[in-house]
């Protein structure tokens, strides 16, 4: 997980912070939250602006738009009946006039720095606009329709894979931390490096085995062509297409996830208070629930939350390999076709989701972990 280390306030020993009055604590929380909110907002604005700069190629995309407008207007003027009597020079002037109207309507005559700020404002206010060339399957050119149509497949693929990995890793991690040093434990440790290969790479092998050689499962796509008319059959068909991509994500991440969860639980289960609980004769389940899972909760929440956000952009390569009609593939298509509005919209929503989550995580930490304290002392850490 690339960004599991979310910015978080300092953690100190549980004994501290109990003596402070609740009111000043509350003020501190507000103050801290405000500062945090501003800094995250600034980060979002800068990130979105950077994306706009890149996606517009520093203004070059608008040059291309202007050229396209001129070309289209030119074609129209030269072909139209009513302008046939005009001379070449008159036609050219007419073309310039018409093109200028369109360019002004799109406000492409403004210098790029100003235009880019307008794009930024439109983006930040979620005024996503219209795509250049990409349409949704229903034929709409509105970016929000295109994104919404693609969101479902991506959510289906990534969420089912994430949940599967998360639940398996959690339970296996707990089990292995209990049976530390067993054969299974050592096997998982040895297999952890398999995660350095990306999911699409395992996808290629899975396609080779289960689609090409055995012919049990489809090569790619999300549903049979033509799609089955019956709802239930449709569901089964999607399920059949889902197996291989989910399996690819699962194989590529599972061992590293189990390994990190297990190590994590091991560290926490060697704490003194766990020994104490054991000495008191508490059952293994109670110890796990109260003394191991509870303090690891913030980290677990972070990792699950962040893994859900990153799925917004989808796994571009995986969706490409499996021809999965999700957001990742959309992003790829949009970049290929230089469809700037789609690219920018996708990034903005990603940045917003990430920002909101990072902000909320801080609050959630404070709720689930009483040791977290915020404010002035936290800064000194």
């Amino acid at each position: 997980m690339a960004i599991s280390e979310a910015p978080r306030p300092g953690v100190e020993s549980p004994a501290m912070g109990r003596t402070r009055s609740d009111v000043s604590g509350f003020v501190r929380v507000l103050q801290y939250s405000a500062v945090k909110l501003v800094s995250i907002a600034v980060a979002v604005v800068i990130a979105v602006y950077l994306t706009i700069l890149v996606a517009n190629m520093g203004g070059y995309v608008d040059q291309m738009r202007i050229a396209t407008i001129k070309e289209n207007v030119g074609m129209w003027v030269y072909q139209a009946e009513e302008f046939r009597h005009l001379s070449g020079a008159e036609k050219r002037e007419l073309i310039d006039q018409f093109a200028q109207v369109q360019i002004q309507a799109l406000r492409l005559d403004q210098p790029f720095p100003i235009r880019s700020l307008r794009y930024l404002w439109n983006g930040l206010t979620l005024n996503l606009g219209y795509a250049e060339g990409i349409t949704s399957d229903s034929g709409s050119r509105q970016v929000q329709h295109i994104l919404l149509e693609r969101l479902g497949p991506t959510l289906l693929l990534q969420a089912s894979a994430s949940i599967l990995v998360f639940v398996t890793a959690l339970f296996m991690g707990l089990a292995l931390s209990r049976g530390y040093g067993s054969f299974l434990d050592r096997l998982v440790v040895a297999l952890a490096p398999t995660s350095s290969a990306p999911a699409w790479f395992y996808g290629v092998f899975l396609i080779l085995i289960f689609a090409a050689l055995l012919g049990w499962l489809p090569f790619g796509g999300m549903v049979d062509a033509p799609p089955p008319p019956n709802k239930f059959q449709y569901f089964l068909s999607v399920l059949k297409h889902l197996i291989l991509p989910v399996a690819a994500v699962f194989t590529s991440t599972i061992f590293a996830s189990i390994f990190s969860q297990r190590t994590f639980f091991l560290i926490y289960s060697s704490e003194d208070y766990v020994e104490m609980a054991k000495a008191k004769g508490l059952s293994d389940r109670a110890i796990e629930r109260r003394y191991i899972l509870r303090p690891t909760l913030p980290t677990i929440i972070t990792s699950i939350a962040l893994s859900f956000i990153t799925l917004w952009v989808g796994n571009v390569t995986l969706e490409q390999i499996f021809n999965w009609p999700g957001l990742g593939q959309l992003f790829w298509l949009a970049s290929r076709a230089v469809d700037t509005p789609v690219i920018v919209a996708n990034t903005i929503i990603y940045a917003y989701l990430l920002a909101i989550t990072v902000f909320l995580l801080d609050i959630v930490y404070a709720i689930v972990d009483p040791r977290v304290k915020v404010g002035a002392e936290a800064q000194s850490n």
Binding site: A47, L50, V204, L213, Q320
Partner: protein
């Protein structure tokens, strides 16, 4: 010296380290072999395949070593050229001012299946008049099939399989089947035995040189097979090795060392420097990595070095900088740093000589572990269609296989060879990194 020896002794205790080192040395040897036997310029030229460099290799042929498996006996490419085998050519003066050049290529065909193509190429030098040229095909059962005659220009290629008249004469089968088919069998089965191509030419000048080349294109070819553009995959697989290793090492060095240095500077100076680094990291985390790379790759440039540099830059300001920062915060408070401050050591001295060495034990395993991810990075961007436009790499072989539907069409070798190279190189570094982690961070050993 002693420390190096001790280090190796430590490593030798871990089987995974030995396996990793063996794999890495194999790949290094392969990389050196590639660089020694073929200069990069030549490899790029070959891989671009301009002109007729790849005329003489079959299309989409599997590796030739598949024939060692029982039950597989497919034809391998056979290439006969009078330029290399002068004994196949005889010249005789049959009349004043008229010479007969006779070329004969006898060969044994013992395979169970048909070749994929059969072509004859001729070149004529030092001739003002066009030589008169005719070819015959002799089969093991004594039949003689005329393949036509023609006046030769300076260079000709006869694609016998596309000759419609010949196909009709062979009973509707293209030449690469019809010439080899058993006439008595009801189905198309090749007849095994000694075939011979006889080509005769009448030339009218004494110094005219005529070369004939017969290529019987196999279903199998070379060590790694060929792709849809007839290119021998060994070129890309061989040269992909040094490129992958260089990518992996450069990327990993860039990502680890730079990240560590920036984290150290930030922690040491604190204040706005540290704050700035933190903010840049937060902004960077908002940017979606691969999508940004796709944009830059399609809109700006697909140069592999540029994309890697961007990827490294993106990964510098990521979660790892935060964990290095946490480590440096502890180091900063250590008494020996206090001591250095008290005798007024310079900031640079403290950062480079006192703080950074403390993190090396964490850095080395991370570095080795990062190498495979940068090797796979090249493959990933290639699959996304952002592969370097010039360099022959493993990723590009894989992405072309993917684009050409290699798995649908059963060209498994095309996908497997680059994938396995990726897996084994990745595994080599991962295994070594894993062992190094245990040696450098003994705390983990108890876990």
């Amino acid at each position: 010296m002693n420390r190096v020896v001790k280090g190796f002794k430590d490593l030798a205790q871990y089987p995974s380290a030995i396996a990793g080192l063996v794999l890495i040395s194999l790949f290094v040897a392969l990389a050196v072999y590639a660089m020694v036997t073929m200069p990069l310029g030549q490899a790029i030229e070959l891989w671009r395949g301009s002109g007729d460099v790849w005329q003489y290799t079959p299309r989409n042929a599997a590796p030739a070593w598949l024939n060692v498996f029982p039950g597989i006996n497919k034809p391998v490419t056979m290439d006969f050229n009078t330029a290399n085998m002068p004994e196949a050519k005889t010249v005789e003066e049959i009349a004043p001012g008229m010479w007969e050049v006779r070329v004969s290529f006898p060969f044994d065909f013992t395979y169970d299946e048909f070749p994929t193509e059969i072509n004859v190429f001729t070149t004529v030098r030092n001739s003002t008049a066009r030589p008169f040229f005719s070819m015959r095909w002799l089969t093991p059962d004594g039949r003689e099939i005329p393949l036509g005659d023609v006046d030769l220009r300076a260079s000709e290629s006869f694609r016998l399989g596309q000759d419609a008249r010949l196909t009709r004469r062979l009973g509707g089968r293209p030449a690469h089947m019809g010439l080899f088919a058993d006439p008595n069998a009801s189905e198309a089965v090749p007849l095994k035995g000694r075939y011979e191509l006889v080509a005769e030419a009448l030339v009218f000048e004494p110094d005219t040189e005529l070369d004939v080349r017969l290529v019987v294109y196999g279903q199998l070819h070379g060590l790694a097979g060929t792709d849809h553009r007839r290119r021998d995959l060994t070129v890309a697989l061989l040269w992909g090795t040094p490129i992958a290793l260089a990518m992996g090492l450069m990327g990993a060095i860039g990502a680890t060392v730079t990240t560590m240095a920036i984290a150290a500077v930030g922690t040491w100076y604190g204040g706005w420097v540290d704050n700035l680094i933190q903010r840049i990291t937060e902004i960077n985390m908002m940017l979606p990595g691969y999508p940004l790379l796709i944009m830059i790759g399609t809109l700006v440039d697909r140069n592999l070095l540029l994309l890697t540099a961007i990827w490294v830059a993106l990964s510098i300001f990521s979660a790892s900088i935060k964990s290095y920062r946490a480590m440096f915060l502890q180091v900063k408070e250590a008494p020996y740093i206090e001591a250095a401050k008290s005798y007024s050591a310079s900031n640079m001295r403290i950062i480079v000589q006192y703080m950074m060495p403390r993190i090396i034990p964490v850095l080395v395993p991370t570095f080795v572990g990062l190498v495979p991810s940068f090797v796979f990075f090249e493959a990933t961007i290639s699959v996304l269609g952002l592969g370097d436009p010039l360099l022959p790499t493993w990723g590009k072989v894989l992405s072309e296989a993917q684009d050409m539907g290699a798995l649908h069409n059963g060209y498994y070798y095309w996908v497997l060879a680059p994938s396995l190279l990726l897996v084994f190189s990745g595994a080599g570094f991962a295994l070594l990194g894993f062992a190094l982690d245990r040696i450098f961070n003994p705390r983990l050993r108890s876990l």
